[in-house]
């Protein structure tokens, strides 16, 4: 019994590490014609992974449905881009990433998390 509980505890920890850090993130949405619609609701960006090509202008349309203040702003780390997202509206963010790489985009407090993968 003791061993069973300890083992399942350790297994749970391994599962946490695997699920949140090792397992692949959600499916990427490739930017078609340089535009992607992203829904901001319930603590996640949907889709949360966007792919694009370096040097190409990219249009992201954020539709914020979540009224909680956390969702208020989207910040693209490393690209110096940020935008307010008024509740219930669709806000367009245009950017042209020049350097290939992975850029995180999050809300101000890093609870909403997304990735922009630039090839």
């Amino acid at each position: 019994m003791i061993w069973l509980i300890n083992l399942s505890g350790l297994a749970l920890m391994a599962l946490i590490v695997w699920w949140f850090w090792l397992a692949g993130a959600g499916k990427a949405r490739r930017a078609t014609h340089g535009a992607v619609d992203i829904i901001v609701d319930d603590g996640v960006y949907e889709p949360a992974v966007i792919e694009s090509n370096a040097g190409e202008p990219l249009t992201l349309r954020f539709e914020r449905r979540d009224a909680s203040p956390c969702a208020e702003q989207v910040v693209f780390h490393g690209l110096d881009v940020s935008e307010y997202l008024p509740v219930g509206e669709t806000t367009t963010v245009t950017l042209t990433p020049e350097q290939p790489g992975t850029y995180r985009f999050t809300c101000q407090m890093n609870m909403y998390q997304g990735k922009l993968i630039v090839h």
């Binding site: 014609h33 340089g34 110096d80 940020s82 509740v87 669709t90 101000q108 890093n110």
Partner: protein, 833 residues
């Protein structure tokens, strides 16, 4: 037959070109189409409508913003649901037009009702139609249309939604606490919180468990939905922690209630009150946070409120009030006393005083007359003005300032990066700690292990607050950048906030930074038998037709004293010497001393003229026939408050250096007046950046203050570049920090605000790190072996919701910061507020 040129973007191959051709050829009237991939331009021959072509291009995905039809910006904010769309209609003159337009709008798919109001040239459309289609329908009927994006109404709706969210959170708080508090009281008053199997207590606790489930399912629903969605995305957030914490407590309690036999007798304790209380407390924390956050963005709201709603435009011989969105560049706009300037423009008629403080932070109203520029959002205090619109919509200085402030508020100074890295891995780490703590309690803890395990794990999950950590930096930056904007200081990057806080050297450009940047008359000296006014009148008469800056200075001074120039003849301007003309039969000359000597004029007032030179003024000698009758001192005066501002900078312990292309002697004279003791004179404009670099190589953290145009390389080289402008004309994109008011006080204010903001961020980060790194171990039971304390999950919930409210409130304290006051009180800028 017309030719349209449209810019394209993103077209890289022949495949793209053929897509573009297909898209454009579908537009009625489009003839031959040439796609130029090298120049990223498409040329269309034929009678097609330009807007339709642009629209088709945009639809194909290769359009640029420039080519997009004018209504495109409005469609950015298309309402998500249905709702009314209001259109501004142009070209409608009579009742039959109204019918035509209403019919055209009614024919668009999704339109339920369309009605046009001829009086204010607007149409209201209800239904589900896209604004773009509506505009096209009106255009094809032969009229123009654009969406009226009423910012005020949109703001109001937004506020209502935020209010509704706030009230909902308060309701959730009520439900959570309403269920949790009586239970907790029962426990505190000695009521049994344990389950005896097979007795009435099992049934009673089952009922309580179901009520708690309702709390989790209704007010707690957002946390569980958020946690589940995040989990599916391999993501974890605050919701995950709350859902896991409250869920664990409820599940454990339910097991105890339904199958007490599974749990040792001593561990048959229920924790329903914890689940309900946590949901209530965290909802309360969120509600308080919503409230406090509203205040942090007050600065942007204030700027948004400056936008005028309508403009009184002079069109077709009449005046009409139209929505400000419909004003186009070139329109003549009338503004009456007490009204706001609607768009940027240039005054054509009238004179008045404008209060520009909302943009520049400069409290004194500015006089405006024909030829002067006016900026949207400023307030007309005096007379009526008619101005020609030069920049409208998103191009106005106000719109660009709002954009800049909003953008800057989202950037982070480097100090916040650690918190970002931590918060990115925070939640899964906390989950690991919770499981590890439970295992430790199980193996090493006292009896009964199960309830202790559960309490430790739940408390760890609940007490950990990623929000405080994530909010620490952005909240302060938001308030700090907004605060700066209130003082007419535009900070482009969060990084500049941090750098500006540790500067030790300020390099000031002379012309336009310390001085006004244009010469002005400083002294008039009259020889015996003449009066100052006579001298000035004669000088102004000579210079009346000249565009030279010195001439303008004399003209302005004469005008100020109400002196009218007399008519002159035989005017001659001798480059580098002066001017001469005949006035009332006498030869009058105005110029430098050497030239008059060459002309054989008898000099006078030489000693006084020499004194003028010492004060960095240029003496101009005025001679009638062969005798000097007066001397005029013209100088680029130092700004009124420059000396005071420089004193402030020096009191902050900064090394202040003036840089100029002037010769040493006159540079020294200005420096003396301004109170600067280090001068870099005779520096060519292109060498300014090198001088800044040299200072940096000596280890200095250098701020460069200049006009942003000529000094751009030096501004870029400096650790922080300050572009100083006069009024709203300044090029706000040219430097890290822009001072709208033109006053050097802005440099000291910017540094004071930066230091205060940075101090605030440090307090927040320190608080958040300390809170989490103390709270989590204590929650895990670290103190238990020594003191026997184990935190209750309810206390953890209260602490967690308080911690993020504290961060937001602390950031809000910055709103009361006054840079001037801080200077007077202390030299370190401090965090007092």
């Amino acid at each position: 037959m017309r030719t349209h040129h449209l810019p394209i973007q993103g077209a890289t191959c022949q495949g793209c070109a053929s897509k573009i051709r297909t898209a454009l050829s579908a537009v009625p009237g489009a003839g031959e189409i040439q796609v130029d991939l090298a120049d990223q331009e498409v040329t269309v021959h034929g009678d097609a409508d330009h807007a339709a072509l642009a629209h088709a291009l945009a639809e194909s995905g290769y359009g640029t913003e420039a080519a997009a039809p004018p209504e495109a910006p409005a469609s950015d904010k298309e309402p998500v649901g249905g709702g009314d769309i209001q259109l501004a209609i142009t070209g409608a003159t009579c009742a039959s037009c109204v019918r035509t337009i209403e019919t055209a709008l009614g024919g668009v798919a999704g339109v339920r009702d369309a009605s046009m109001n001829l009086a204010d040239h607007s149409a209201r459309v209800s239904g589900q139609a896209a604004p773009r289609d509506l505009i096209r329908a009106v255009q094809s009927a032969g009229y123009g249309a654009s969406v009226i994006d009423d910012p005020r109404r949109a703001d109001q709706e937004r506020e209502e939604r935020e209010q509704a969210h706030y009230r909902q959170l308060l309701r959730h708080t009520g439900y959570g606490l309403g269920v949790g508090a009586p239970l907790m009281l029962w426990g505190l008053l000695g009521g049994s919180m344990t389950v005896q199997s097979g007795t009435w207590s099992q049934a009673a606790w089952l009922a309580v468990g179901l009520i708690t489930l309702a709390v989790l399912a209704a007010p707690g629903r957002p946390f569980f939905v958020g946690a589940w969605k995040a989990l599916r995305h391999h993501n974890a957030n605050m919701d995950t922690l709350i859902a896991l914490g409250t869920g664990t407590a409820w599940l454990y309690s339910m097991v105890v209630v339904l199958a007490p036999a599974l749990v040792p007798e001593a561990a048959r304790h229920v924790y329903f009150e914890a689940s309900a209380m946590i949901i209530g407390l965290i909802s309360l924390g969120l509600a308080l946070e919503v409230r406090a956050r509203g205040k942090t963005s007050a600065a942007v709201k204030r700027l948004l409120d400056l936008r005028a709603k309508t403009a009184r435009v002079l069109r077709d011989g009449g005046e009409q009030d139209i929505p400000v969105e419909q004003v186009v560049a070139g329109d003549r706009v009338r503004v009456r006393p007490g009204e706001k300037i609607a768009v940027d423009g240039e005054v054509e008629e009238g004179s008045s005083r404008l209060d520009e403080s909302m943009l520049t932070g400069e409290p004194m109203p500015v006089a405006k007359g024909p030829g002067d520029s006016v900026a949207a959002g400023t307030l007309n205090e005096g007379g009526t003005l008619v101005y020609r619109a030069t920049r409208v919509g998103a191009d106005t200085a106000l719109a660009r300032i709002i954009e800049l402030v909003k953008k800057a508020q989202g950037t982070k100074p480097p100090i916040g990066r650690l918190a970002d890295q931590v918060s990115a891995v925070f939640v899964p780490t906390i989950m690991l700690i919770a499981v590890a703590a439970a295992l430790l309690w199980f193996n090493l803890g006292p009896q009964p292990p199960f309830s202790h395990m559960m309490v430790a794990a739940t408390t760890v999950l609940i007490i950990a607050c990623p929000c405080a950590l994530g909010l620490a930096t952005p909240m302060s930056v938001m308030v700090g950048v907004g605060k700066a904007a209130e003082y007419g200081i535009l900070i482009r990057q969060g990084e500049a906030l941090q750098t500006a806080a540790d500067l030790d050297t300020v390099v000031l450009d002379k012309t336009g930074t310390i001085t006004e940047g244009r010469p002005a008359l400083t002294r008039v000296l009259a020889a015996d038998g003449e009066t100052e006014d006579q001298v000035l009148t004669l000088a102004a008469s000579l210079e009346a037709g000249s565009e030279h800056p010195l001439a303008q200075a004399i003209m302005a001074a004469a005008e100020e004293r109400g002196l009218a120039p007399r008519s002159v003849s035989d005017f001659q301007a001798l480059n580098g010497k002066g001017v001469s003309a005949l006035v009332d039969g006498a030869t009058v000359r105005l110029g430098n001393r050497r030239w008059l000597e060459q002309e054989g004029v008898a000099l006078a007032l030489e000693d006084q003229a020499a004194d003028l030179s010492k004060d960095a003024a240029t003496p101009l000698f005025l001679a009638r026939d062969d005798r000097v009758i007066g001397v005029l001192g013209v100088a680029d005066r130092i700004k009124e408050d420059a000396a005071e501002a420089i004193r402030r900078l020096r009191e902050r312990g900064l090394r202040v250096i003036m840089i100029t292309g002037d010769i040493q002697a006159s540079a020294d004279a200005i420096a003396r007046q301004a109170g600067v003791d280090e001068v870099l004179a005779e520096v060519l404009p292109e060498d300014k950046a090198r001088e800044v670099k040299r200072l940096q190589q000596d280890g200095a953290k250098v701020a460069m203050v200049g006009d942003g145009i000529n000094d751009a390389p030096a501004l870029a080289q400096a650790d922080v570049g300050f572009a100083i402008g006069t009024g709203t004309d300044v090029a706000i994109e040219s430097a890290a920090i822009t001072l709208m008011s033109g006053s050097l006080h802005g440099v000291a204010d910017a540094m004071a605000i930066s230091r205060a903001t940075l101090g605030n961020i440090k307090q927040n980060l320190f608080g958040a790190f300390v809170y989490n790194s103390l709270g989590v171990p204590v929650a895990a039971g670290l103190l238990y072996p020594f003191t026997g304390w184990l935190l209750s999950p309810v206390i953890a919930g209260a602490a967690m919701s308080l911690s993020s409210v504290t961060v937001v409130s602390n950031a809000n304290r910055l709103r009361f910061f006054k840079p001037n006051k801080a200077d007077r009180r202390t030299a370190d800028g401090g965090n007092e507020s």
